[in-house]
């Protein structure tokens, strides 16, 4: 398999994952903005920051108002991380690696792009937002479904999954980075309605509000939420889970190629570290410091994967 194709697949799935997460963030932010008890502007600002496009946004807007933020996040060509830009990038990568995809996966991406392009041709009307969000979720679910349903589970599949989980770990960590203060025991007003809304946003942003209540019986508790998002073994968006998947997919590549790579040591070591930790250790050493450290490790791992499998010259 060509290194350039491995690269295209990896980024295609990073972009799809990110598009989905961005849409989820906007959805959570929108619910917050409807809640009178919080400042909508502040919420939108933290969402723009989580999405990593604060600078790009401030180049074209001065204040964080609902309409412009939604437009910027969903369809702005000025925003390299808008859902539309990301989907477009994913499709461009899919065209690059078309020979590595089944017809079904290619068509799912291509149709997703056509559908979203149509839906996002004009500025988003608030009334259409829920339908739009479910379209984004549906389109990326279709791609994932076709990936599982039709692709050989070989190295191609591993690169696609690596892209998904490196991106997902990054996105969950960045959400925590922006919202960590809500989860700190010292500064939270446990039980206040404000906190409940904040926590719910965090959980909603990762589509985990239901699974959390299912696990924790509806008891909102910041350290439980942090534990759930960082160390849970079953939660498919937790940092630990993502790294387990990365380790598994790298082992699959090792078996496939009969070749062990430095990125594998990095991933296994990181996974073991997370495995040894408890949420109390993390709070004791500082939640913010932990997240900053994790983000840089996750980035470094991504770069090592790119180098080890010769994505670039």
């Amino acid at each position: 398999m060509l290194g350039r194709h491995a690269c295209g697949l990896y980024w295609m799935f990073r972009q799809l994952e990110r598009a989905e997460n961005t849409a989820r963030l906007v959805e959570a932010g929108f619910r917050m903005a409807l809640t009178r008890s919080v400042s909508a502007e502040g919420e939108w600002e933290s969402i723009i920051t989580t999405a990593g496009c604060r600078d790009a946004f401030l180049e074209v807007h001065d204040t964080f108002e609902t309409g412009p933020v939604i437009d910027f996040m969903m369809r702005s060509p000025d925003n390299p991380a808008s859902v539309m830009t990301l989907f477009e990038g994913a499709r461009r990568n899919a065209r690059q690696v078309r020979t590595s995809l089944t017809r079904d996966v290619w068509e799912a991406v291509n149709e997703g792009w056509m559908t979203l392009r149509e839906l996002l041709r004009r500025p988003v009307r608030i009334a259409e937002l829920p339908a739009l969000m479910s379209a984004v979720r549906q389109q990326s679910a279709l791609v994932r479904g076709q990936l599982y349903g039709t692709m050989l589970q070989d190295d191609i599949f591993a690169y696609a999954r690596l892209g998904t989980f490196v991106e997902r770990a990054d996105n969950t960590a960045r959400l925590l980075d922006v919202k960590y203060y809500v989860l700190l025991p010292a500064t939270s007003y446990v039980g206040s309605s404000l906190d409940n809304v904040q926590w719910e946003t965090v959980l909603r942003s990762v589509s985990a509000d239901r699974s959390y209540s299912w696990l924790h019986g509806g008891e909102n508790d910041p350290s439980h939420i942090a534990d759930f998002l960082i160390l849970d073994r079953h939660m498919p968006r937790s940092l630990y889970y993502c790294w387990c998947e990365i380790v598994d997919n790298l082992s699959a590549l090792e078996r496939e190629y009969d070749m062990r790579k430095p990125c594998q040591d990095m991933a296994e070591e990181g996974q073991a570290r997370l495995n040894r930790m408890t949420i109390d250790d993390i709070f004791a050493a500082g939640l913010h410091e932990f997240i900053t450290d994790f983000l840089s490790r996750n980035n470094a791992l991504g770069r090592q994967i790119e180098a080890d499998y010769r994505f670039y010259e």
């Binding site: 350039r4 194709h5 491995a6 291509n110 149709e111 190629y257 499998y309 010259e313």
Partner: protein, 466 residues
């Protein structure tokens, strides 16, 4: 499709009976369905210079073009003869140049030809094949009467449309194919792979040779086709920067290191193939590939330098070329061609511009040509100036009375001009011609220009079973 009395011509009889069951509204709906199918599959092309850099669909017409088995058999013999002659000609031109010594072809046509590559002199490609893939452009002017318009001997495109057009028809009108016996075209990629493998360098011919398709990238107008063929052949789709010379071979960068390639089906022009040997600013090619090629380390399909055979000035000598190498008169006719480099011909052309088609000797894609009968006075005057300034840059041909076939328009079925490009595969020991080809349609009423870059469309082409 119909004879002068208005009855369907023989090959169309069964199709016409089937068609009469459809209402215009049903046909229009089918046509939209086909368009959706093309979009979803991503069968698109990029237009150079278009502002929105968007991918476009080539208009697809759902009425097939039908050719009888008998007409096809003669076409096949004629094309095979021509392709053999072209390969013999290329070998001769890059070796002893006997056709020039015999006084049958003027030396300056080769010496001054930009497509002639001195780097190929004395080089024999693996298996002796120069043009592994040829797309011969033909027009039909009457029963059993075909003219060859062009021999595309460099990197002819369009074969993916031949296959996808058939796929689309099979999907939309399955019942039609049980009524009309049509020869299949779907095995082209398998045959292409086989032809390429048979032409691999001798050292790698026994094992399963590694084949790659070299594309300029996703922005190239024919990218869909490059990906399609690589996919169907199970070959790697590579770009120039995936390749480099490793231990005297051309190798591609894989996730596990560099792997050598035996056969490179390149869809990159000669000029861009090797920045060390040709255009030094090329980023599409592979530095040093010509040196590996000359040492016999890789097969390049088509061989570099084949363009000299499909030059429009050389075209006018094709009847002589065919006779010289095959010893027989050509089976298929050439369109009479005036070489404007010759003073008498130029004078005639200048006097008759209104009736002639004038083409650039090295042009392609329907750019830079004049269709006299369709041109304005101003366009003709402009061309007159160009002709006088650089006569050797042009040839002229009469406008043929091209046969028309029906296409589905908003106002129902209407006749439009078409051409035909069958695809030929050349191996060291055989020539295979896929029964079918790409029928291109001038979608505008009365127009003779069928190129997709100029708004032309395509049709499925049926060669009936005997």
């Amino acid at each position: 499709m119909h004879d002068e009395a208005g009855a369907p011509r023989e090959p169309y009889e069964e199709y016409a009976r089937w068609l009469s069951d459809y209402t215009p509204a049903e046909l229009a709906r089918k046509s939209r369905e086909a368009e959706t199918f093309f979009r979803r599959t991503g069968i698109t092309f990029n237009v150079y210079g278009a502002r929105d850099a968007d991918e476009r669909l080539i208009p697809f017409d759902i009425v097939p073009r039908v050719i009888s088995a008998r007409e096809w058999a003669r076409l096949e013999r004629g094309i095979e003869q021509r392709v053999r002659a072209i390969n013999a000609f290329l070998h001769d031109i890059y070796h002893k140049q006997e056709i020039i010594k015999a006084g049958r072809l003027p030396l300056n046509l080769i010496a001054e030809n930009q497509a002639f590559l001195p780097q190929m002199i004395g080089v024999s490609p693996p298996g002796g094949v120069y043009t592994h893939i040829v797309g011969t452009d033909l027009v039909r002017t009457g029963p059993n009467e075909f003219y060859v318009l062009e021999d595309n001997a460099r990197t002819p495109s369009g074969v993916s449309y031949m296959i996808e057009n058939r796929e689309t028809m099979l999907r939309m009108f399955p019942e039609l194919f049980s009524r009309v016996p049509v020869q299949p075209v779907g095995d082209y990629p398998v045959n292409l792979r086989r032809a390429l493998a048979r032409s691999a360098p001798p050292a790698s011919r026994g094992a399963r040779p590694t084949i790659a398709v070299l594309t300029p990238g996703i922005h190239n107008s024919a990218y869909f086709e490059h990906a399609f063929l690589a996919d169907q052949m199970g070959a790697a789709l590579v770009e120039g920067h995936d390749l480099r010379v490793v231990d005297g071979r051309i190798a591609m960068r894989t996730t596990q290191g560099y792997t050598p390639i035996d056969v490179l089906y390149r869809r990159v022009d000669d000029d861009y193939l090797d920045p060390l040997n040709f255009r030094s600013d090329s980023v599409l090619g592979v530095p040093g590939i010509m040196d590996v090629y000359r040492a016999g380390g890789i097969t390049i399909a088509n061989a570099p330098g084949t363009g000299v055979a499909d030059d429009k000035a050389i075209y006018s000598y094709m009847p002589e070329i065919i006779e010289f190498y095959t010893g027989k008169p050509p089976i298929l006719k050439n369109v009479p061609t005036w070489r404007c480099a010759e003073p008498d011909a130029l004078a005639y052309v200048l006097d008759n511009l209104e009736d002639l088609v004038v083409k650039e000797v090295h042009g392609s894609g329907g750019y830079g040509m004049l269709v006299g009968p369709a041109a304005s006075k101003k366009e003709i005057a402009g061309f007159r100036k160009k002709l006088k300034a650089r006569p050797a840059n042009y040839i002229a041909q009469p406008t043929l009375s091209l046969s028309t076939v029906p296409v589905l328009t908003k106002a129902g079925l209407a006749p439009r001009h078409v051409d035909l490009r069958p695809f030929v595969l050349v191996s060291p020991d055989r020539i295979d011609i896929t029964p079918g080809g790409l029928t291109r349609v001038a979608m505008k009423k009365g127009s003779l220009v069928v190129n997709s870059s100029q708004g032309g469309g395509t049709k499925d082409t049926w060669i009936l079973e005997d």
